[in-house]
Symmetry: C2
Subunit: 238 residues, 2 copies
């Protein structure tokens, strides 16, 4: 349950909502723009697209055959297939966007949800952020308890590992706190009455109330060469 493939469907719909694309590019975007998800393989992506089409959420369109559009229409030429979101697809995606069930704040789900916050209503954003936070606090509580129980029996390295793990979670909680605060501030600023219209900011919209951080590309370039051994396993695609 809580199928990982659900995340894929969601992300695909979300990306296609912005603009039609073919599978190959879709996959790239899945890794870069939404850098979070570790790459899905084509063996997963294409079948997924198929089912989305079968559900009527996407339609396949003949891709731009840039060189000779004529030849393309002749023999069973395999051309680019561009996927476009249908009206039902859009509707479905919007529904997914509004869900706030418990899985919305599981690690990978959460990242996917967050990536599309720009198209999510503020109220939903709040619920997801708060859900995630309480999920993490729960986890922290467990870690603390378990640590308290076993502390003396653990050697220094295990302890250090534990410590670092907890600190990571604490850090994410603080991050969420900032985000939640900003969301709240954003709402307060606008004094939105009960009937205020849902936001309508396109892709380029200024999502309100994000905490202003020092520039996204923080610390400077790589300080040249640690002696660390090179890692040949760089390429994901090949």
């Amino acid at each position: 349950m809580s199928r990982r493939s659900g995340i894929l469907e969601f992300a695909v719909l979300g990306l296609l909502r912005e603009s039609p694309m073919h599978g190959y590019e879709l996959r790239k975007r899945l890794n870069t723009s939404l850098g979070i998800f570790r790459a899905f393989s084509y063996g997963t992506l294409y079948p997924c697209l198929k089912t989305l089409v079968a559900n009527g959420w996407l339609i396949e369109e003949p891709g731009s055959a840039p060189e000779d559009a004529l030849a393309a229409s002749l023999a069973g030429r395999r051309a680019k297939i561009v996927y476009r979101l249908t009206a039902e697809g859009k509707e479905h995606f919007e529904e997914l966007l509004s869900h706030t069930g418990p899985d919305a704040w599981e690690d990978e789900h959460f990242a996917a949800r967050f990536a599309f916050f720009g198209q999510t209503e503020r109220e939903v954003r709040m619920r997801v952020l708060e859900g995630r936070r309480s999920r993490l606090e729960e986890r922290l509580e467990k870690m603390r308890a378990s640590l308290a129980r076993t502390r003396e029996r653990l050697d220094d390295y295990t302890l250090e590992l534990q410590r670092h793990g907890m600190e990571s979670v604490e850090r994410e909680v603080r991050w969420l706190n900032e985000l939640i605060e900003s969301e709240r501030a954003g709402r307060d600023q606008r004094r939105s009455g009960p009937g205020s219209p849902a936001e309508q900011e396109g892709t380029s919209g200024e999502a309100d109330g994000l905490p202003r951080h020092r520039d996204a590309a923080s610390s400077g370039g790589t300080p040249p060469g640690h002696p660390g051994p090179p890692d040949p396993s760089a390429d994901t695609t090949k």
Copy 2:
């Protein structure tokens, strides 16, 4: 490749090196002491134990039948099975401990390796830490590049997600730096000549040179109740 189950085998051998245990307890330790790995199910653990036995690395011993040891020996009574590391098993584990191949610094592998640093030679520890660090720096480089390429096209939330992701990695790099520094300092302190004997500190040993952090259980107890919705999916076991 880089099978996740390899991690299991490694961790099992490592835990059993400290003391014999039965499967059930083993699994608990896998989640708590080495809190890192997300739980393996019994469906994975028991078969794994079987193969380890088949390899001659473990032997099954009749568990302590505390109440009536007599009855146990009678009818095919299914008793606790305690697994104990054999000499070959120990040897094998020690060999695994000394490996420093590229997979030693993949996320989950690394955590497992680190968890047993107390039994790892300092030189190997260094190589693993440095390998991990360069792996992460590589990753950072990619993230920076991809971010630079797509920056303007991304909305604020996606950007924020990216930023937070990068910061997490940067944070781990800093952590590794501290650890490496400590390891180095530890070695320097001891002025170990070329022929210095391998360390021989038991489970309780003071692993040298860990950076001293404010107490492991950082920040205070849970500030009572955020309004966040409760999450019924707490229990892993059931």
